[in-house]
């Protein structure tokens, strides 16, 4: 059965690049040694396995390599991460980086309560504002799962499909149209 599963999975990996340029580099190969490992998550409905780690760019994690101690919370422009800053439009009127990224410890994210959240559980952060999507995602109805309808499934983090810095899907090129009946002749 492995052979038939890699077909869609292989295509899937390519598709995950949409809207998340960082994901393409990270697919399949973890960046640094300290990247979070995929974890087994027990769920009341069955066994779920996290699909992939969060889509970090190469060498970007752990963030504490560069960031030590707190930064200035009042600034609104960055000296690095230019490509992210250029594309950032996730409620950019009202949000900026430190609304999600923790100022004191850059290796984690934080909820609005201040509680820390590892990157592998970033869905808890998304779920704060996008509660209905989060509930549907937990049930497997929002987003996708692959695997067994009657057993083990592989799920995806929100960020495996949605670029957290520019989440709106940009549109993709469709596959070719079908042949018209008059185009099929012998």
């Amino acid at each position: 059965m492995i052979t038939t599963r890699t077909h869609p999975a292989a295509a899937l990996l390519a598709v995950l690049a949409l809207g998340a340029p960082a994901a393409a580099a990270a697919s399949g190969s973890g960046p640094a040694e300290q990247a979070p490992e995929p974890r087994q998550v027990k769920d009341p409905e069955g066994d779920l396995i996290q699909a992939k780690p969060p889509p970090f760019s190469d060498g970007i994690f752990p963030c504490s390599q560069c960031h030590q101690g707190k930064g200035d919370p009042t600034r609104r422009t960055l000296g690095f991460h230019d490509e992210i800053q250029e594309q950032f439009d996730h409620d950019s009127q009202n949000r900026w980086c430190l609304d999600c990224h923790d100022n004191a410890r850059r290796d984690v994210l934080h909820l609005s309560s201040g509680a820390e959240v590892p990157f592998t559980e970033s869905y808890r952060l998304c779920g704060q504002c996008h509660g209905d999507k989060y509930r549907d995602w937990r049930a497997g109805v929002h987003g996708k799962r692959i695997g067994h309808w009657d057993g083990q499934k592989t799920y995806f983090l929100c960020v495996n499909c949605h670029n957290p810095h520019s989440p709106r899907f940009k549109g993709i090129a469709p596959e070719p149209r079908p042949r018209r009946p008059e185009e099929m002749k012998r």
Binding site: R180, P181, E182, M184, K185, R186
Partner: protein, 411 residues
Amino acid sequence: MKFVHFLKGSGRLVTQGGRAYWLWMGALLVAIAIGAAGYTRQAQVGLIATNMRDQVTWAFYIGNFTFLVGVAAAAVLLVIPAYVYQWKPIKEVVILGELLAISAITMCLLFVLVDMGRPDRFLHILPLIGAPNWPRSLLAWDALVLNIYLAVNAVVVIHILYRGFNGKSYDKRVVVPLVLFSIPMAVGIHTVTAFLYNGMAARPYWNASILAPRFLASAFCSGPAVLLILFQVLRKATGLDIKDEAIWKVAELMSYAMFFNLFLLGAELFKEYYSATEHLLYTRYYWSGIGTHRALVPYAWLSLACSLAAFVLFLLPRTRRSWLGLNAGCILIWAGVYIEKGMGLVIPGMTPDTLGEIFEYTPTANEWMVAVGVFGIGFLVFTVLVKVAVPIMSGAFHSRAGGTAPAGEVG
């Protein structure tokens, strides 16, 4: 032994004839050869040699099949006056109607065979060896009733002709029940064929209760037309005594059927155009086209014009009894109903298709070739049967020279 004589004699009859006969037979053999060539290509390449595709899955072959089932059913227009009302002028010629029924059913079965994707699997529809889907599948019913109708007509015809050949009259106990049975069978074959279309909820153009009555009306108004022409030919060519009254009575019955056919068409058109739901789309495609798709429109109006003209010609006794008017009417009604019940029924039912796509179907050359071949075979069967039957009817072909065959009592 007598039967062998019968067969040998029949063989001789079929191979003897005047120039007109041989020209006709020659043309039929050419048609059959064309059909064989066409079907060979289709068998090699597959049904992709036709223009049928997933969007229009039934077309020219099934359209012809539908028309010919009607022609086969039309024999009943002779059988009822002959056997139920014992009307002598028609009783003398009713066997010709049965011969037409046999030829028409042969063509029907051939058209189904050439339309099938896997004709090598025809055994699958037979009971015991196959798995016919009774009672739910109308197509399984159609296969059953068509073959029963063929068998009934074949048994009656062979019995009457063989008895006639032996100078004897037919056995009423054999013929009359079978012939009376063939009346509801004739209605049955065409009703079942109508139900085949009628029962499909997916095709709103067909999913109308009026389809079965329309089929019967169009069958009765067009089928006997070929017989009327045949009667006139036979009178001249063989001296067979067919009374004018027989011909005029059949024409009169046809004119009633024509009226009913036109009335039912009007009823359908009212329903479609007045309620004007989205289902009007199919009717509109046929009569006025949709956008640039207008392939069937000229045929729709041509068919109506032919049917109307034929109706007028057959309705007025003056034109009905004039040989020009009668024959013109026969040709017109055949053309009108051939279009209406062939392509005019099948194609609009599938255009647009169930997902709104319009694929304009027109038959390929290959389909024309195969259809010509099937018609060739059908007419050949009819010609051979008539060539044997007529001398038996007139007493010229019988087992003993000098034996009296009761002329005019055959059939």
